[in-house]
């Protein structure tokens, strides 16, 4: 009773990290580094770094938020490493600018020429994470079957064999998963659009 106020809101449960967060962290990473192998390694590093600094976890943030904050640092480190390998990133500038354009020249020089696609990319990145979020709210079995069928594109027959269920079981599970996901995305995606 006397320790009530010091009980942290959130606790770490590393044995469940892979099942609960690995795919979420993986998608988060892959949209930022664009390389499967590197993304896998960064997720792995994040889990290990999390274990190493588990004692620093104060329980104020949710487990996933805490892991994401570690992952962000890992991603930044990754880019630092690449940049130091390549030599510093260089922006070549023509300094003979027109006085009227003062203030805007630097932005023009460093503007990302792929900017037209950037909005779409950001949109897809967020959509991916919104779907992942909704997937974590499903019962484990439903999420597993839905991912195998929809995201990995496995055949009905193969899933049934692997999970030892009948085809009609599978369709009932798929139906429940889809209904929940539709509702979840309705609240978390369409409303934020």
């Amino acid at each position: 009773m006397e320790t009530f106020t010091t009980v942290p809101k959130h606790k770490l449960n590393p044995s469940k990290w892979v099942d609960l967060y690995a795919d979420y962290l993986f998608n988060y990473t892959i949209s930022r580094v664009n390389d499967t192998i590197i993304a896998e390694d960064l997720v792995q590093d994040t889990f290990l770094a999390g274990l190493k600094s588990a004692e620093n976890f104060k329980g104020e943030a949710a487990e996933r938020t805490w892991l994401i904050s570690i992952l962000k640092r890992k991603i930044i480190d990754h880019y630092r490493k690449i940049n130091s390998n390549k030599g510093k990133a260089e922006v070549k500038m023509d300094l003979n600018f027109d006085g009227e354009q003062e203030g805007s020249w630097l932005e023009q020089k460093v503007a990302d020429t792929y900017d037209l696609n950037a909005e779409d990319a950001i949109q897809n990145k967020e959509l991916g994470l919104a779907i992942q979020d909704c997937l974590t709210k499903l019962p484990k079995k439903q999420a597993e079957v839905f991912i195998k069928k929809t995201i990995q594109g496995m055949e009905t027959e193969d899933i049934c064999k692997e999970l030892n269920i009948t085809a009609s079981n599978l369709w009932v599970i798929i139906h429940r998963a889809r209904t929940t996901l539709m509702e979840c995305l309705e609240n978390n995606w369409y409303k934020n659009e």
Binding site: P14, F26, I30, K149, E186
Partner: protein, 83 residues
Amino acid sequence: MSKKKNTLLVSCEQAKHICDKMQYGEATLLERLKLRFRIMWCKATKSYSKKNSDLTQLCKEAKIKTLDKEKKVEMKRKIDGFS
């Protein structure tokens, strides 16, 4: 006439089931016809069908990836081995 109608008539639940299968290209031509037929007059089926196609579309657009099963096993092993 009425006989033909009966073969096309499915319940709302059956229509939803066909609609689910359709998202994965696993509904037969006859099933698709049955679904179309029901959508003509059943608002619940129509709304389900619309949301269901949207979900399929969103999943495609999002390009979600999952980690290999082996990779996950390896990660679990490393985490368990840490302590």
